[in-house]
């Protein structure tokens, strides 16, 4: 048996109830062009000199013309829709533009400093007027200090999160959550001051790398707890119950079911917590000092870090003069720091994808 679907006869001149009048697809582009042209015209006519006012005039004209046109053709609901969409896109652009500007500016200023020597040499004996030198010493310091901080903070963070999600009940768990929240807001200099007082002043020690790592760890713990907690909460209750119902004790359920299921998320949260503190500067001023030569030992002697190198090269640390050379090196170090964080983020995503449960 064959069926044919009856086509509703299209009577000419009698529009369907379902199809309303719409602006053509090119409407936003045309209105945009018109708004820009009008704004330019006004700029010349009134003799404005800057571009800012013209830009905002164009934006305002765009919103007004598009919404008005839409209202007259499409009706009030679509006009509202156009207005809201335009505003949302504008907010998006307002949020992204500064970010892109900052990143591209850092890249433009930083890339000229990059060379093989820049990554393989320290600043040992390089004065502000001399060429050469590099960030090797600072890169070593940052990597070591951040690694030590991660080794201290991530286990504490993840175990605390496991406690809160799997075991935490009642007052104690509430108190832990509260203090974690408070710690999230602790200014980094306060963490630095704390370690400075107890470790350096308390033991009469000179600044050294690991002292900075402890302060970074203090800053990292709450971030790690919070994000790991969210990841563990995402593991469905079902899976825990399925495991209990097989006669598996709770701790083995956590170890073999909950953690593997959440692994992908836990890796992401760990690396993001690391990225979060990699550029931290304030506590390092107090705790790790700065050395222009290479110091591999984080447990003794001043150690350079990338943020501190930026500070040093801009002459703020010693109050010495700066030059194009030192400024270029500062931007180079800043760009390296940004790239480091970027790499951490990319690695986090790749690892997370690898660790994700598969269905195929």
């Amino acid at each position: 048996m064959s069926t044919t679907i009856a086509q509703r006869p299209q009577l000419s001149g009698q529009p369907s109830d379902l199809v309303g009048a719409r602006l053509p697809r090119w409407a936003p582009i045309a209105v945009g062009a018109l708004a820009v042209a009008l704004a330019l015209g006004i700029r010349f006519a009134l003799g404005w000199t800057g571009w800012g006012t013209a830009f905002f005039t164009a934006a305002a004209l765009f919103v007004i013309i598009l919404t008005g046109w839409s209202f007259s053709v499409e009706g009030v609901r679509r006009a509202k829709d156009r207005l809201a969409s335009t505003l949302i896109y504008a907010c998006f652009v307002a949020a992204v533009v500064p970010l892109v500007l900052i990143l591209s500016y850092i890249a433009i200023r930083g890339i000229p400093a990059f060379s093989v020597d820049f990554f393989s040499h320290s600043m040992n004996g390089v004065t502000s007027r001399r060429e050469g030198g590099g960030l090797y010493h600072a890169l070593i310091g940052t990597l070591e200090i951040v690694a030590i901080a991660a080794v201290i903070a991530l286990p504490i963070g993840i175990f605390t999160a496991i406690y809160l999600v799997e075991y935490g009940r009642g007052k104690f768990a509430k108190a832990v959550t509260f203090f974690v929240d408070v710690m999230t807001g602790v200014p980094s200099i306060v963490a630095g001051l704390f370690v400075y007082t107890f470790l350096l002043l308390g033991f009469g020690a000179r600044p050294f790398g690991a002292a900075g790592a402890i302060a970074l760890a203090i800053l990292m713990v709450p971030v790690a707890v919070r994000s790991s907690e969210e990841m563990l909460k995402l593991v469905p209750r079902d899976l825990r119950e399925a495991s209990y119902a097989l006669g598996v004790p709770k701790w083995r359920t956590i170890l073999k079911v909950v953690l593997p299921t959440a692994l992908s998320g836990l890796i992401t949260s760990a690396l993001l917590a690391v990225a979060r503190v990699a550029g931290e500067t304030a506590p390092l001023i107090l705790l790790t000092g700065y050395a222009s030569s290479i110091n591999f030992n984080p447990f003794s002697g001043d150690q350079a870090t990338l943020p501190m190198m930026v500070w040093d090269q801009l002459g703020k640390r010693s109050g010495t003069g700066t030059s194009d050379l030192t400024e270029a090196r500062a931007w180079g170090a800043a760009l390296t720091l940004v790239l480091l964080v970027l790499i951490l983020n990319i690695v986090a995503r790749l690892l997370a994808r690898l660790a994700q449960p598969k269905t195929k």
Binding site: R169, D238, R240, E241, L246, G247, R252, K256, P357
Partner: protein, 259 residues
């Protein structure tokens, strides 16, 4: 081996809320018992007290006795982990472990619990359990594929294979077919009839034809109103419950569904 279950006047609580009041039941080994009744009357809650899964929920507690072959599950010193080894469970929503292959899902009860066996023994267990769950033919060529890649009905049978792999004495099933198509449902009903030879089975179902088809005895649960505790109204031979119930409420419920 299959064991009997005797529950005497059990009260089940969520915190202060009494969810099931005064439930008593005697279940013989190697039988299928069906729990029926409207939503929220405490069928799942009661079922979960039979392997101490109820207390996994914060605030969950019981008063009364549950005897497994005469031994009180809630007696002093009884380890809930051992109880759950003896009384297995299949859930409403199929929940294979997403990080594990089909093979590993079946032996999850051993693997996660850390019990050591060699590859041969595991191979045997996997084959036997999957055959027991009527899934072997469909998956034998892809045992190392993820369990989450199977269809809903296959996943549920994988969960049954996982539950019987640890050789429990009793199998609890909470609406195991409610998310499945009729073909998969039939496969699982057949499976229940086969498993009955070795296990004591308790199944919650909303499908009364299913209760009539698979069970030997049926318990009807009801609740007087919202916020009231659920009660077991009637418990009898399935044939009797469906043809000639003693209680008016049972008859109303059954005829309402059938009529």
């Amino acid at each position: 081996m299959a064991k009997s279950i005797d529950v005497d006047n059990l009260n089940v609580y969520y915190g202060d809320f009494l969810a099931v009041e005064g439930a008593s039941i005697n279940i013989a080994p190697r039988t299928v018992t069906a729990f029926i009744g409207p939503s929220g009357c405490g069928k799942s809650t009661f079922l979960r007290t039979l392997n101490r899964m109820h207390e996994v929920i914060p605030g969950g507690r019981v008063e009364g006795k549950v005897l497994l072959d005469g031994e009180d599950l809630y007696g002093p010193g009884v380890d809930p982990v051992n109880v759950r080894r003896t009384v297995g469970m299949v859930f409403q929503k199929a929940n294979p472990f997403p990080t594990m292959s089909i093979y590993d899902n079946v032996i999850a009860g051993y693997k996660i619990a850390g019990s050591r066996k060699n590859k041969r023994e595991f191979d045997d267990i996997v084959e036997r359990s999957l055959k027991g769950a009527n899934l072997w033919e469909e998956v034998k060529s892809r045992l190392q594929r993820p369990g989450a890649g199977l269809s809903g009905g296959q996943q549920q049978r994988l969960c049954i294979a996982r539950a019987i792999a640890v050789e429990p004495s009793v199998l609890l099933m909470d609406e195991p077919c409610s998310a499945l198509d009729p073909i998969s449902t039939l496969a699982i009903e057949d499976l229940i009839s086969e498993l009955k030879v070795n296990y004591t089975i308790v199944i919650v179902t909303h499908n009364m034809q299913q209760a009539a088809r698979v069970s030997d005895r049926t318990a009807f649960f009801n609740l007087a109103g919202v916020g009231q505790p659920g009660r077991m109204i009637e418990y009898d031979e399935t044939a009797k419950i469906f043809s000639n119930p003693t209680q008016k409420a049972t008859e109303d419920y059954i005829s309402g569904r059938f009529g």
